[in-house]
Amino acid sequence: MKLNAIKGFCQNSLFKKIIKTMKLLTIFILAGIAQANAKGYAQEKFTFTMNSVPVKQIFKEIEKKSDFTIFYRQDQVDLNKKVSIEANNFSIDQIMNKILRGQGVTYKIQGNIVILKPAGSELNVYDNLNTAISGTVISATTKLPIPGVTVTEKFTQNGTATDNNGRFNISIKDKNAILVFHYVGYKEVEMSIGDQTEINITLEEENKVLDQVVVIGYGTQKKKDITSSISVVSSKALEDRPNTEFGYSLEGKAAGVQVIRSSGQPQSGFSIRIRGTSSITSGSEPLYIVDGVQTQSINEINPADIESFSILKDASAAAIYGSSGANGVVLITTKRGKNQKTALTFDAYNGYSKVMKHEPVLNSQQYETLMTEMGQSLDWTKYSANTDWQNELFRTANQQNYQLSVSGGNASTNFYMSGSIVKQDGVVISNTLNRENFKLNLDHKVNKFLKVGTSLSYNRWFDVDVSENSRNGSILNVILGSPIIGVWDSTRKKYTSDPFRLDLDNPVALAEGVIHNYTNQRLNGNVYVEANILPVLKFRSMFGYEQYNSVYNYYADPYKTTSGRSFNGQAELANNSNQYWISENTLNFAKAFNKHFITAVAGFIASKTTSSASDIRTHNFANPTITTVNGGSVIDGATGTTVQTSTTSFISRITYEYAEKYLLEANYRADASSVFGPQSRWGYFPSFSAGWRISKENFFRNITAINDLKLRGSWGIVGNSQIGPYAYLGTVAPSGSYVIGGNVVAGYLPVSLENPFLKWETTKQTDIGIDVATLNSRILFTADYYYKKTTGLLLNSPVPASSGYTTALKNIGDLQNEGTEFQLTSKNLVGNFKWNSDFNISFNRNKILNIAGGIIYDGPIDERGNTSIAKAGLPLGSFFGYVSKGVDPNTGNIIYQIADTTQGLQTSDQKVIGNANPKFIYGFTNDFSYKNWSLTLFIQGVQGNDILNATRIFTEGMWEPRNQSAVVLQRWTQPGQITNIPREDLTNPNGNPHDNSLISTRYVENGSYLRIKSLSLAYNLPAQFLNKLKISRIRLYATAENLLTFTKYSGFDPEVSAFGSSTNIAPGVDFGTYPQTRDVIFGLSVTF
């Protein structure tokens, strides 16, 4: 409370500063009491005698004997003069008067604080008043009053808001009170009252970076108060890059966050790795929380409904999510209504996509030559086509999105509702995604004590996908497909098939020959009630529910495709239904007094998930016009299963802040999950963090260049339990029928073995970070170092098939991730022409420390085995294979590095041949604006990673009679020929038919790329024009995605990960992967 009086004293040394600080801390803890007993202190009596000692020594004696603290500035007051005093039951006044006499120093006692100043200077005097203050708040930009500005007395619950004329009235008790003026979008102003009764405030619109409120687990914090590592991405990122899935908006925007698009299919989604991969076979996706409720699937969320993302990266931030936090947490906050005029916004965009690259392939003549060389025969005269399947399969795809949203409210009720329709076609024919979303967010203040609200969303999703990442997938077959056949046979009733593989349809047939689609519906929502039990204590109870249904339909008619013909029609119907509920009860405590600010959260959470799946497959259709499973006369299989999981958790957090300078936080969560056995069901997850805002220290006050500097550190434990239900139990499925006596008898099929010791995967993470804001927050810089170690990895590891099983889930192995990340945000130009930029770069090093049992291989390529190895000492994502030393000019075969030439090529000659992990990843966003125009340029890249281009094993291998990429025109055909493409391998007399296309360094390529990910130009129509139309805003924009890519990678696209969604061991493999596309989008946004 006496801050103003004390400011500026004792600026002599850091050391002294700290000592004083500690004293201050004590003082302020007692401050409330001190005020009440101010008179009492003044009446305290002292008895002592000191002869010829410096004045300051007497002060020390007083401080020692009493609760008084004496403040002064050394440059103003000389306390080295020696005096004598004989105090006999003296009051503090008496002592002061005696020892300060004739020294040109005056004093003031405030409570138990004694302030010394040169005689004649004015001292603030504490006055206890009840003062009515009023005033007007106007905007600096518009010079108009702002209604709805909250005006609060700092450190108290006392507050009000401005009326429609921007006027406010507030009563305060204390002349020293500080009023805080807060309005969204404007810089917060703090104003000391003093003797004023009428205060006029001008609020400046400003990007209040430091005061920005950040959503954290079970609460919010101001950015400046955060002690853990959290990245925030605002809805601006979504606006700049209109897209159907929000993951794209996170790409390259936050340091330490890698968004991996494993495929270019619009429905394929994305996977996110926060600070590397911290599990080997257990889930590695972060936890997604939408408006406080964990969500089971993120693909269906409508990005336009999102207000902001908080990405909790370190253990301290994520520990409140305990066992779900090990991979980091993405908190998604959707838009909510405000106390403002109802706004209606209509958004629409229309876009076009194309593949970025055309891979040259052999034409029909070159194909015939190669096939003949490979010993294949055919009556070539029967075939006249010359088809490049890329032209048949790839198209210019259209995407459209329409969204209507309404939001608004009054002082007690706010609402946001929206509906949207998306239709996005893929660049491969038949590939499409349709989505409809509906969203409603509602908040209502019942009275002073009670607030209720809901978040509801419903969406419907329909998609048709395309087979990829396999040998017989559509994408690989655009190259492998025979060029001598057309799409349809001469009757036009059925698709052609490969003349050398008559059971394999042409690529167009693979993509569109059969009906196959997914229809998903999701209803999710929550209701909450918040009760202000005490001014400092709030109870919140939330109940969330999610119902998710998904239907898969497949039908191959009996004529068009080979599969349909050979089964005389084939159909499948799969249903999945998922119900999830969560009940969350929390108590929130927040208390500010003087400079102390304490918050605490305690809560209890329970949740349960029930999933049911059924599937029926039939064939032999009597009538092809029936496309549903009931039309098939033979039931090939029918299953229906239900699984459940439940969890309970206790959470707690306490934060302490002193003077916005010293920040402490501790979290503790206990989690129990039904996926573990009773012995190891509970997991315990503590974390601690601390921050020091050095810039708030007095000694920093003169360094004006840096307006904020914060050091922070954190440590914590988080867990991972992303494993299947009943994982600890050995299970036996009731399937495996036999026929005895002509009757079908039911049998058992052992599925898995019991492991009652299965327990939580544990990740310990330490983070040290620094946040700097300079040049009046025009430049913001954040740097973090982290080390995280995961132990007891939940590993679904391959076991010898001789055990009767092929994989088993166990807690084996340790893994570490260590890295640094930097984020730099700057306003390079302000004024009419604005230029903001945001750059982030992350370095992560992953290392497997230990895998019980030694080695795991994964990333299976048809007919070639695994691409990747996991072993202690190696990073996850190490490629494993032979070392190719080029083509032998004499034989035309690949020369492999062989350890023992007498033995020939052995499996022991395989080595680690590449690393899929980038050395660093980066993103660079530049926003330019001039008047109504704005331009956003977003560059993103990864550097130093390898890609195993397994596609080339099939497109350049020449070991089966399929068409090949045009590079095989350089193949070896005669002795002495120097080339890097070996001979055809099907009739190779030397060794095995595919020895030349083993997984080897031949297919390891540099995967680095730099990409102009997006370039967006927008124009806001002038206000004068819009005012006449009574429209608030019209924004027109054009966006180009994946405009330019700089890479040495030879495949369709370097952004690939064939096994990205199925295993962490084998990232960075290209195996007939659907390529990313180049998109151009035109959009319009109108707000009424």
């Binding site: 003949t372 059971d503 090939d636 007919e863």
Partner: protein
């Protein structure tokens, strides 16, 4: 007001806390699966586990078709066919890559998972306390499971040599399950011990049951038949034992006898016959159908032809085999096993230019593929095989005269004159030839070649050709070189298995 909220909310908080922290909420039991701790407690449970063990015959790729591929296609009886499929061609051509072959790994994995089911039955039956499980039935169950386990291990040992002997399949502990390979004789000893248990525990026929049970379950006859085959096949063979067990089958109270009409065995209407010792009882047009048939022989169009959109099937009968039937003057068995038909594709061995009037042969041991759901059974053990083994044993034991008599039992059925061979060597060759003709496409040929020590010479002396077609004109014959050697009589241990089990060693030559 404040107190009201306070009390109510705290109360609610405590209520939910108490409610959900109870252990019951977290102790969820599977809804749609049984757990290993309660799966094997009652008599019906153990019967279900045994049914599951039998289902391996029906449900695995191995017994649906790879059993045939790895014998008849691998050997001189058939070409790969199958649209140049890259997985099976190397098996036909004796150049199986050591790195990975999906078919080899799948067979290995399926056989061991079949063994795991048998192990579960054997290990758990002893612990069942349900009085409904009679001692007699308990003994039988152990006998049946032991027989099945022996059958699967026999498949493993004859294809890969010594393999790991997994007796329990109840652990995932690397130190327990990373089992090194045993010597092949040790695996055979284990098989023999299982079969001796089966022999002691199993009946000749189940009480009150007819052929539809006795021919599809393990019986004393089946155990004797397998013992005869095992003692003949193992490297330290004992033809006295072969003879002993063959005679036990031939003289069995179960009354096995040769079918009069050979063609009836494979016409689809005479399964569960007197000649059958063990067969897989597929039911066509149901989930219990055999899809593997479709890979050998296509479902025909309604007019009985192979329609123009069909594709080349696997296991195409070889010229060697067709010539063998023709040289032997044996149309009965040839017609029962092989069907020559017009096909809409080119066949590199039989009709490279796809000329319309040149027919291509199919393996038609199962004649009704029925759109991937055939009801045609597969014989696993058949009396004719045992009679020929008996002849082999008699001959090897120096009893050429009786051997010829036994051999002629098989020849006379298909109206062929008695063998002209009299010396042990000639008879040995005659019996081997007879087995090829009698048992073609029944998964026997590869084992016969290996057992007789003729695999290398037979495969390398084949006079097989393939052809190419250039604009309608057939090329000169291109001799097929199989490059067979002794090491190739064993399959490679799958790379995935070597990677998962560092204690394994690869077979030489891979």
């Amino acid at each position: 007001m404040k107190n009201y909220f306070f009390q109510k909310t705290i109360g609610l908080f405590l209520l939910t806390t108490v409610c959900f922290s109870c252990r019951k909420f977290l102790d969820l039991k599977p809804v749609s699966a049984i757990t290993t701790d309660n799966a094997y407690t009652t008599a019906p449970n153990i019967e279900a586990a045994l049914n599951g063990a039998y289902s391996s015959f029906m449900g695995t790729n191995y017994y649906q078709w790879q059993y045939i591929e790895l014998s008849d296609m691998h050997s001189d009886n058939a070409y790969n066919g199958g649209s140049n499929d890259a997985t099976f061609l190397p098996i036909d051509m004796m150049n199986i890559p050591s790195d990975n072959n999906g078919c080899i790994y799948l067979s290995w994995q399926e056989l061991y998972s079949s063994i795991a089911k048998c192990n579960a039955v054997i290990d758990n039956t002893a612990n069942v306390t349900d009085p409904a499980l009679t001692d007699n039935r308990r003994t039988q169950i152990i006998g049946e499971a032991s027989f099945l386990r022996a059958f699967h291990y026999y498949q493993l040992v004859k294809q890969w040599g010594g393999v790991p002997i997994e007796k329990h399949s109840n652990s995932t502990d690397p130190s327990v399950i990373r089992i090194a390979r045993s010597a092949d004789t040790a695996v055979y000893n284990f098989i023999v011990s299982d079969l001796e248990v089966a022999l002691n525990n199993l009946p000749d026929a189940y009480d009150g049951a007819d052929a539809s049970t006795n021919k599809v379950r393990a019986t004393k006859g089946a155990a004797n038949a397998l013992l005869a085959k095992v003692w003949a096949q193992r490297p330290d063979r004992d033809y006295n034992k072969v003879l002993q067990y063959c005679n036990a089958v031939i003289n069995s109270p179960a009354g096995y006898s040769l079918m009069t009409n050979y063609a009836d065995l494979f016409d689809g209407n005479h399964y569960l016959n007197s000649e059958s010792i063990l067969e897989i009882p597929y039911i066509g047009g149901t989930a219990q159908g055999c899809w593997g048939t479709e890979l050998f022989y296509p479902t025909h169009a309604d007019d009985g032809t192979i329609s123009a959109d069909q594709w080349q099937r696997y296991c195409v009968p070889s010229r060697t085999l067709v010539n063998a039937y023709e040289n032997a003057g044996d149309p009965i068995r040839e017609n029962a096993k092989i069907s020559f038909e017009d096909v809409p594709w080119a066949d590199e061995n039989w009709n490279a230019c796809g000329v319309p009037d040149v027919k291509v042969p199919f393996d038609v041991v199962q004649k009704h593929p029925n759109n991937w759901s055939s009801g045609d059974h597969i014989y696993l053990l058949r009396l004719a095989d045992i009679i020929l083994l008996k002849a082999e044993a008699q001959n090897e034991l120096g009893d050429a005269g009786d051997a010829a008599t036994t051999l002629n039992l098989i020849r006379s059925r298909i109206h062929l004159p008695g063998t002209t061979a009299t010396s042990q060597t000639d008879l040995r060759a005659a019996i081997l030839k007879e087995r090829q003709l009698e048992l073609s496409f029944e998964g026997q040929r590869w084992d016969d070649l290996v057992r007789s020590g003729t695999a290398v010479t037979v495969m390398n002396n084949l006079n097989e050709n393939k052809y190419t077609c250039n604009n309608g004109s057939l090329s000169a014959p291109l001799p097929i070189n199989y490059n067979m050697n002794l090491q190739k009589t064993l399959l490679p241990i799958p790379l995935l298995e070597l990677q998962a089990n560092p204690n394994l060693t690869q077979n030489p030559g891979y």
